[in-house]
Amino acid sequence: MSSGMSHSASDTTVRKTSSSNGRTVAESGVQISNIWKAGDNVSQESKVQIAARALHKKYHKGSNVIPVLRGVDIEIREGEFLAIVGQSGCGKSTLLHLLGTLDRPDEGEIYLADNRIDNLSAGARDRLRNETFGLIFQFYHLLPEFAALGNVLLPLMIRHGLFGYLRQRHAFRERAKDLLDKVQLGHRLKHKPCELSGGEMQRTAIARALVNRPKVLLADEPTGNLDRAAGQEIIGILRNLNTTENLTIVMVTHDENIAQQADRTVRLVEGRIE
């Protein structure tokens, strides 16, 4: 926690640097205007960021049909740090994938700030994943071909075309370096994932998720593969992001201790919100 807090100063620096880079403040203006409302007391008035209605999802295993989600309704407000807990196999990862447009629900609707997103075209969903959502996974999912810095730059490379990227590459590199500094990996820019520890890899993954200034951070068991200390460090960073930048965070976990550190916890049992 403390480690995350100590970096709040540099957060603001990043923000200033980036806005002077020609990117409009309005893009992340919601978070800034709500910055003091963040924390445990998310007011009921703050806008609903993501809403899901009656989500159903089945998986087909050969001839067997396994229903995973059976009518999930969920609302996530702006600046909220929500933890979704449940037994393994209860469908919490599936729910997160649906929210993050990685998958489509069989039934039901998903809204992002009143805009339906589950029925968008593949290209639009790709853009949403790139620009609006930041994703963090249990197994970090870094590309082994890239060093830490390259992994963080990846969403920017995907977002911008070849020439667009090359034109702004210095600014992008600065941003990626700042983010890695923020997760205390400033000294490991050139290290490949195989040369990093689990905690370092997950922090790199967080930096990568943040590099495009997402509106929502979706974390799938971010501590599931880490020891207590490293896990706590990750939660600290997330907590700090939520507090200082009013970033909406949805975290899936099976660990009650971890879940307790979120603003709100919902429990998923057999494909339904309890």
């Binding site: 593949a122 790709d126 994943r129 999912h141 071909e145 977002r159």
Partner: protein
């Protein structure tokens, strides 16, 4: 951007894919070598054929030929105009070449050609193919005193030695005459009743006509004009020659056990030629001729068939001269055009002017059409076969790409979860295919050009390893394997190889593009 970086990284780290590209490399290299050698051969062959044949051949049908070559030549000159460079009339007739080896007569079927030696040299490079250095400068039907090539002129000292050529010419003829005389003397002594001197006292066979060809070098090297000789004058083989003929090298040459060349007939020997007269029905006439030189164009088809003689002699012996007017028939007119003139256009102009039922007009390419077409077809088939090899390499790329896609399933899932589109992921693998293709064909290009450049060292290496001669210069007559690198051919080969590499990567790339991100991420 990530696409470029990723496929560059894949290229650097996936050596197995590079292995699959080796077959592309080899295919491209072989294609370049084969095409270069084939077009080298074709080029060399065309060059040689063209050296023998004139640009255009104006043929009259049949053996009798057409009358009055001068009138025809004037007409051709008028039609062709400024494009014309030289013309010469020729007489062609199938003939039998007879010469004696030991006690036996050897008969060879030949193409007997009467030429006007001065003008014929202007329309074709035939003089270059003669074996006496003076004849190459100024061809002649006079027997030379000596100085015939002892080795192939182009191949030099390493080529097989030509046994007997050091004596060829007048020395050989003098020795023959001396032997004959000694033999006759011996015959006279041992069996006086059988001593019928065959050659002694024979009349000059061409006393009827007076041509400038009829001169011979005497023993002292002084050129004597024969002129009409009285019947009483004794024909002396040691100082006199029959009408000269130049015969194809392969008609006379045989191989010794070490690959050296031996000769059944040498310059200085007399041969007999039998050929049909021009009348109806044709009758066979025979004449004695003296071999004065060999003709070696290195096109075995010509070297084993051509016999050249003075046109006037042939016309006279065949009865082609009109006794009332003195105008002689010819079989064809050889036409040489200026450099760069479109042969086909001139040919068509001539064809329009002369009735086709009387004259056949063809370019040298028409004459050798089947041979050139055969070489072309061979090249085409080889190209198809070798492209099939590259296509096989394409399947190798396909298999390895599928492996890489499976191996990289998780990474593809990661890219998609970060917002990479399906087409973006597809581009990675297509670009990877293109990159592999260009690496493969680039290496193939370098390898192929290196082989083409050092083809003779490669040949020697192969011969050393296999212990078998791969390329025998005495068969192909080339000291070095001829090569000709055609940039357009190389461009096609490279483009083809790259296209195959890209096409092979389409399926794996599609598969990668269609991977479901969640399933890809779950993949272990």
């Amino acid at each position: 951007m990530y696409k470029l970086i990723l496929c560059w990284r894949y290229l650097q780290t996936r050596y197995i894919a590079l292995a699959s590209v080796i077959s592309v490399t080899l295919g491209v290299a072989t294609l370049i070598v084969v095409n270069s050698v084939m077009s080298g051969f074709t080029h060399e062959m065309q060059y040689r054929i063209h050296g023998i044949l004139s640009d255009l051949v104006f043929d009259g049908h049949g053996l009798e030929g057409f009358s009055d070559s001068r009138w025809h030549m004037e007409r051709i000159r008028k039609i062709v105009g400024d494009d014309l460079q030289a013309m010469t009339p020729t007489v062609h007739v199938p003939a039998m070449l007879n010469y004696r080896v030991g006690q036996r007569w050897v008969h060879r079927q030949v193409n007997f050609i009467g030429i006007d030696v001065e003008t014929y040299a202007q329309v074709s490079d035939c003089a270059n193919y003669l074996q006496h250095f003076q004849n190459r400068v100024k061809p002649s039907f006079q027997l030379r005193e000596g100085g015939y090539d002892l080795h192939d002129r182009e191949l030099g000292e390493e080529s097989p030695y030509r046994h007997g050529m050091e004596m060829a010419g007048w020395p050989h003829r003098r020795r023959l005459a001396a032997d004959e005389k000694a033999w006759l003397a011996a015959q006279k002594k041992n069996a006086p009743q059988l001593a019928v001197p065959q050659q002694v006292g024979r009349a000059d066979p061409f006393s009827g006509i007076n041509t400038p060809l009829r001169a011979a070098e005497s023993e002292e090297g002084v050129v004597q004009k024969w002129g009409p000789v009285s019947k009483s004058q004794v024909y002396d083989k040691a100082t006199q020659q029959e009408t000269g003929v130049i015969i194809g090298y392969a008609l006379a040459q045989v191989l010794g056990h070490e690959g050296d060349h031996y000769f059944l007939v040498l310059p200085g020997d007399d041969v007999k030629l039998t050929f049909p007269t021009a009348g109806t029905p044709p009758k066979a006439v025979s004449g004695s001729f003296t071999v004065v030189d060999f003709y070696q164009s290195k096109m075995s088809e010509y070297d084993s068939a051509f016999v050249f003689a003075p046109i006037a002699k042939l016309q006279e012996m065949r009865g082609m001269i009109d006794p009332t007017t003195g105008i002689a028939n010819v079989n064809s007119i050889q036409i040489k055009l200026r450099e760069g003139v479109n042969l086909e256009a001139v040919r068509d102009k001539l064809r329009a002017a002369f009735p086709p039922e009387l004259y056949a007009i063809s370019t040298w390419r028409d004459k050798q059409g089947p041979l050139l077409a055969a070489v072309q077809m061979e090249t085409a088939i080889l190209n198809i076969l070798l492209f099939l090899i590259i296509a096989v390499a394409g399947f190798g790329i396909l298999a390895i790409f599928f492996m890489i896609v499976v191996e990289k399933t998780k990474d593809i899932g990661i890219l998609k979860s970060l917002g990479a589109s399906g087409s973006g992921v597809m581009t990675i693998f297509l670009a990877y295919g293109l990159l592999l293709g260009s690496v493969g064909s680039g290496a193939g290009l370098v390898l192929g050009l290196l082989i083409v450049r050092n083809i003779d060292s490669v040949r020697r290496g192969v011969e050393w390893v296999s212990g078998q001669p791969v390329f025998d210069p005495s068969i192909y007559y080339f000291q070095q394997i001829p090569t000709l690198v055609d940039p357009q051919m190389i461009a096609w080969v490279i483009a083809g190889a790259m296209a195959i590499a890209v096409i092979a990567s389409v399926l794996p790339a599609l598969r990668a593009a269609r991977l479901h991100p969640v399933e890809a991420l779950r993949y272990e």
